[in-house]
Symmetry: C2
Subunit: 196 residues, 2 copies
DNA sequence: ACCTGAACACCGTTCAAGT
DNA sequence: ACCTGAACACCGTTCAAGT
């Protein structure tokens, strides 16, 4: 409780949380093992006792962020509404961690991410999409979001921080994109042969 | 013409071309100033006489790649068909340079990229989209492609190279995505109020 | 069990110097 | 005009050693 108690006992959780805070403030690029160690007031090599290496650290960061996420579930609102709010929440959540979205893709060997991928394809099947189309549909929606987050994190880095105008524009783009995704999927649900 | 004439006079063009070849083979991550210098049989510092720094090198690489690109123009086939082939060509072109797509986004201060952005929005206006919607429509289409390329380059890096199955899957995803983009835009063209 | 110090093999880049 | 060598400030990481 004293002032100098800032130097808490290190743990994987604290390492990951500090890394996420740094990402929120300065982007993932600012999270070097050395800078992270300095933020924790410790030697760089101390981190390796708690995480295997930087790749594992990033994986833990991703899992921590997706763990806090709401799942995509079909309710009485209909799939369009559920998908809309889910994509919007996902975007608002992930854009707080610039650069991290690059390490979140659908299929790969990310335990948590894979399970959420499966629950998403189940969502689309419940909504009436054939299994194969359900898979491609979620891939399409998520790939768009991924692209949007990637574009934004690159623009953030390059562009000057001109107050909130960038944020407004970003919101315009992403709301357009989400509605477009839904419109496309509505068509495909009506006639799955529209698509290969 | 002799055997040892491989060591040509250095020039910005040769530097950029060699960097692009390295990207085709090993991805953009493999293009370090030091590795590029070694490929050109020269000291790392020699490169700085021809390009200002690595950022400029990447910009030159991007410009070189987009320069070889066909433009998006409206012809008698109709906008859907033109957009489909253009997106497909773009994807097939850019996927040859893993990692480079991350540095190609719509709006920023990339001379060539900006002009192609404007020609694309003109394309959509010619097709009947209101100006603001034309802009958002191309942003949507390009953002999806960008996301697709980003996902693929990350998967390539992580996943094991299991023959051609990955390529077939990628093609399924991207053809689905392109058709979905077109379906969405068809809806929006009919009724632009569907979207904010 | 937990952390440090020194070291290695990498980066991009600057600066003075060579021809 | 074109290139080199040495150096600087960074990376991630290994390995032996300390408590």
């Amino acid at each position: 409780m004293a002032d100098d108690s800032e130097r808490l006992a290190l743990s994987p959780e604290i390492v990951v949380e500090t890394a996420l805070h740094m990402t929120q403030d300065q982007g993932l690029d600012s999270v070097t093992m050395r800078a992270l160690a300095k933020a924790l007031d410790v030697t760089p090599m101390a981190l390796y006792y708690h995480v295997a290496n930087k790749d594992e650290l990033v994986v833990l960061m991703v899992e921590k962020v997706v763990a806090d996420r709401t799942e995509l579930v079909l309710d009485e609102r209909g799939w369009q509404s559920a998908l809309r709010t889910h994509m919007m929440e996902l975007w608002e959540n992930l854009r707080q961690y610039p650069g991290l979205a690059l390490f979140m893709f659908g299929l790969p060997t990310l335990g948590a991410s894979t399970s959420s991928y499966e629950s998403a394809t189940k969502f689309f099947q419940d909504a009436g999409f054939p299994p194969r189309v359900a898979h491609l549909a979620w891939s399409f929606a998520w790939t768009y979001l991924h692209g949007r987050l990637s574009v934004e994190s690159h623009l953030d880095r390059a562009a000057s921080r001109k107050s909130g105008t960038g944020a407004i524009r970003a919101r315009d783009h992403v709301t357009f994109g989400i509605e477009a995704v839904i419109l496309a999927l509505e068509q495909i649900l009506q006639d799955p042969t529209l698509v290969p």
